[in-house]
Amino acid sequence: MELQLNQKTMENHSIITDRKASAASCHHADAGKKEGEAKKWIALTGQPNVGKSLLFNRLTGSRAAVSNYPGTTVAVDKGQITLGTERYGIWDLPGMYSLLPITEEERVAKLALLEERPSYILHVVDAKNLTRMLPLAMELSETGMKVILVVNMMDEAEKEGIKIDFQKLSKEIGIPVVPTVAVSGKGMNQVLYHILNYERKNHHEVIPFDENIESGLQEISKILSEDYTIHQRSIAQLLLQKDEDMHTWIKEKEPENYTHITSIIEKTEEMLQESLVYMMKIKIHEEAKRITQAVTTIDKKKRINIGEKLNQLMIRPITGVPILLLVLYFVLYKFVGVFGAGTVVDFVEGKLFGEYINPAIANAVENLVGIEALQQLIIGEYGLVTLGLTYAIAIILPVVGTFFLAFSAIEDSGYLPRLSLLIDRLFKKIGLSGRAVIPMVLGLGCDTMATIVTRTQETKRERVIATLLLALAIPCSAQLGVIFALLAPFPMALLVWVLVIFANFMFVGFIASKIMPGQRPTFFMELPPLRVPKISNVLSKTYTRIIWYLKEVLPLFIIASVVIWLLQITGVFPHIINGLEPLVAGIGLPNDTADVFFFGFFRRDYGAAGLFQMQDMLNANQLAISAVVLTLFVPCVAQLMVMFKERGAKTAIGIFLLVLVLAFSMGGLLNFILNTLNITL
């Protein structure tokens, strides 16, 4: 059943033209086919999880062969079907979201459509999510190819009270539309009928772009002098959106026109406030939304779509902010802070380690190890067991464990992308966009990893601002949990900490965005559906994260203990602490807290654990001040090294010094205000 593909590699792809290259291409495409195999073929396209493979099985009788697309590792399922007297090959192409590919799979799907010239395209969409599905359907329709829109999962849509006017949809989108239920086979005959009796109007311009973009499209379309298998307007759209393959093809095909085309693209972009890709994507989605609303009616009595309602509530500021505050209160404060860092740590550190494990190890070491220095290394004040193991297992593990459990549930629910949209507007005031939610959220897990992720920000300006804010005001999960646990008995102290950190985040971000030149960032993303978190997923992710954290944290805590032990026996440690003492005294903290800040430089969570053990020595005001300074305090060694590597020495040193000065200044200012106004938190 396998269709032999031509053997050309991805590097050698060139767009197929009707007039000049079709003969060569047909020869090429057929050259590898076995005798008796189909010459015409049907492409199955669509986003993942729309029932494409079910449709493929229905059409081919599940007789599929899998082979990689030439020059790639991407697998394509192939089968055959006889329609009338002709045999057709059917290829189940990899899932794709747009003709503008991001992954290799999407690129293969696009290349197969543009290069291998399917006789028909069955584009499968989920009837329940037309708004998300139509953009690609519209792009395909604009290519002018023989596309049939297969609106699948109609049974599920009907259950939700969704009714679609298929004739109207066909008219709007310019291609035949067939409703199906691939699971039961309903609508398959209609699909076959439309293949055999294909009818589409002349080329239909589905997407009405803004005036400037339309003008650019028309100019480019007019310049393209070759005859292509897809419509010039469609090629122009891909060129404007800077599709690399299309640019390579046109540069090869029409070198004499290419420079002119690029100048039109530049000119068009200059006339827009946002990037071309962004503006075009927004327009396509607006049009998809309009068409969906025009062709769909929803029986509200029948449709109780809680997901959609929740979705709207989460992304609208008026309801989204209270939901965010509720999530923060219950998840971070109640679950991680009060339960994880309070109840669980009390039990593990106080009972298990305090009463059983540490005394037993201390007893064994005292009896078995004769050398006092070695005893100090293992069970001394900063020993491997008393400090390293206790901090890592008894204090940090329960905190990050509860955080990872809660975070995995939030992640699995699909809330994070909604959070991005919610705070996009707020982030734009500090030179970032909703995209920056990714490093900020990951920073709660580990700021070092999150600093690397700032690479995903669109501009250098965004990358630097995100790096600065991560170093300054984003505490890691362990630090956050410990701070919540420490401040939980003093709600006013907790409120002060939240306000100071938030004010610093916004103020520093705002000033940085004003000082650093650059364009206003743009942000656009498709929202995946909301869902109830799967327990198996949540547990699996939590377990994986805990294993990762232990692998990372245990060796470092042990190394830190050894380094501190070495510094102590060589007499260096007291000097460092003595050097820090005036600083901590200046912000109203006892001298002993100097240890905490020194530990914090090794790892943020190490410092947090130190503060946790010192809580009985501090009053509410001192707890609030130390929590503020520890949160704003310089990034740990690992994060600093990544900052050097990612942002360069000059920026990294600048951020380091700024953060150091800000942390102690804020601590000093807070101490001054509390003392002057005689406030006890």
Partner: protein, 63 residues
């Protein structure tokens, strides 16, 4: 192995999920990065895969 981005829902393969640990000086945790939005996630722990395989083998034997 296929991944589904926990942030944007994009499906991608191992090869496409660029390891993000290249420039991290301390860890070798082989994070998998979504090619669409850059969100990073951990590949399933080996011990967890081992347990899952164990259970699936037992189940197959029972079947």
């Amino acid at each position: 192995m296929k991944h589904r981005c926990a942030f944007c829902g994009m499906e991608f393969t191992d090869e496409q999920g660029i390891s993000a640990c290249g420039s991290c000086p301390l860890s070798n945790c082989n994070l998998v990065k979504c090619p669409n939005c850059g969100y990073e996630s951990l590949p399933e722990a080996k011990s967890l895969s081992f347990i899952k395989n164990l259970f699936s083998k037992n189940k197959t034997k029972q079947d």
